[in-house]
């Protein structure tokens, strides 16, 4: 029971950060800032949701698998941030809001 409550709290925290990332993506004025919002907020949101699911799931292999998925998403998202940032830097800004 206590694990259920903990899981709900952590998942809600994750959902909050996902919402923050999406709001940032929609509101921020330039593409660098949008990149910031997504990379940081979404990774943190995924981290919290994975942690929440760890409390809900039972066995050690499941926890290892969840951890692996989170690590892969973290590395992927962080490199994606670098690559897209690099791309923006090299692209002459034709259309700026």
């Amino acid at each position: 029971m206590i694990f259920d409550i903990l899981s709900i709290i952590l998942c809600l925290a994750g959902a909050f950060f996902f919402l923050g990332g999406t709001v940032g993506l929609l509101r921020f004025p330039d593409n660098y800032s949008r990149l910031h919002a997504l990379t940081k907020a979404d990774n943190l949101g995924l981290g919290f949701i994975v942690l929440g699911l760890v409390f809900a799931s039972a066995t050690l292999p499941e926890i290892i698998k969840l951890g692996l998925i989170w690590l892969l998403a973290l590395v992927g998202s962080s490199s994606a941030c670098y690559f897209i940032g690099n791309y923006i830097y090299h692209t002459p800004s034709q259309e700026e809001e």
Binding site: L19, T22, T39, I49, S77, A80, Y87, I88, E95, E96
Partner: protein, 92 residues
């Protein structure tokens, strides 16, 4: 508990729908790609939550694949569309 996870998954799907607005709006290809990054991370979260809600552990494999595909998508985008960067095949 199951209801909670299903609600959480629906909420995350709403996030993806909101991200679609940015894809349509643009204004640059990079913005659209940033939304693709959103789809990747949020998609992983949705699949993990669904795996818990439906008690179907095999959905986690799809989540793993999603995380892999996101980085592939971004890499191919950067490689294909970057201007005058034709150094294919060197270290990343």
């Amino acid at each position: 508990m199951q209801i909670f996870y299903l609600a959480l998954a629906s909420f995350l799907i709403l996030n993806i729908l909101a991200g679609l607005w940015r894809v349509i709006q643009g204004p640059t290809p990079a913005d659209r790609m940033v939304s693709a990054q959103l789809f990747g991370t949020t998609g992983v979260a949705i699949l993990l939550v669904l795996a818990q809600a439906l008690e179907a552990p095999y959905i986690r494999n799809a989540a793993l694949l999603f995380a892999l595909l996101m980085i592939m998508a971004v890499l191919s985008f950067v490689r294909k569309t970057a201007p005058q960067q034709s150094q294919a095949g060197d270290e990343k």
